[in-house]
Amino acid sequence: QQPVQSPQAVILREGEDAVINCSSSKALYSVHWYRQKHGEAPVFLMILLKGGEQKGHEKISASFNEKKQQSSLYLTASQLSYSGTYFCGTEPGGSQGNLIFGKGTKLSVKP
């Protein structure tokens, strides 16, 4: 039931792009993306509702393929501040808004 994130870790140089994937075995109502810096609480990035929408937040965007039960987070022209662990949280239909989080993808951006 826990969504699967890939890759587990990625190392980038400043300015490079990255894609983080999140897939679920269950039908989803929504997918949420969070970023967590070491020792800090997760911070909300964006939420995608079923309908195949795509959203953007500065140079970070995401897509949600409802049929494939997958979401991808796109980071373009990465900055040092993008470093952290990215979690997807999936909301199965009928879950009363409760999220199931993946194990996270650790992103390291080097100068």
Binding site: S30, Q96, I100, K103
Partner: protein
């Protein structure tokens, strides 16, 4: 604006001792509240959620319990801590699907 508080920030407790972690939310009423645990290098595990005063749902059977004595107060407790209870405990509230996390409590059980 809404804010969420957790205390203490860090805690070191011996095995078998009791636990009480507190979470309070300001600036909103009747929020959905959540307790998560994050083990070192792991994802977020939902422990409890509450949709109202006195209404607690448990996601994982264990030696922890939760209570919601007031609308904006959520308490996580244990009568006897285990080594495996160590981790980063996060309280969160949600509004229109978005979850806002508190600063967390880092618990070490020795």
């Amino acid at each position: 604006s809404q804010t969420i508080h957790q205390w203490p920030a860090t805690l070191v407790q011996p095995v078998g001792s009791p636990l009480s972690l507190e979470c309070t939310v300001e600036g909103t009423s009747n929020p959905n509240l959540y307790w998560y645990r994050q083990a070192a290098g792991r994802g977020l595990q939902l422990l409890f959620y509450s949709v109202g005063i006195g209404q607690i749902s448990s996601e994982v059977p264990q030696n922890l319990s939760a209570s919601r004595p007031q609308d904006r107060q959520f308490i996580l407790s244990s009568k006897k801590l285990l080594l495996s209870d160590s981790g980063f405990y996060l309280c969160a509230w949600s509004w229109e699907g978005e979850q806002f996390f508190g600063p967390g409590t880092r618990l070490t059980v020795l």
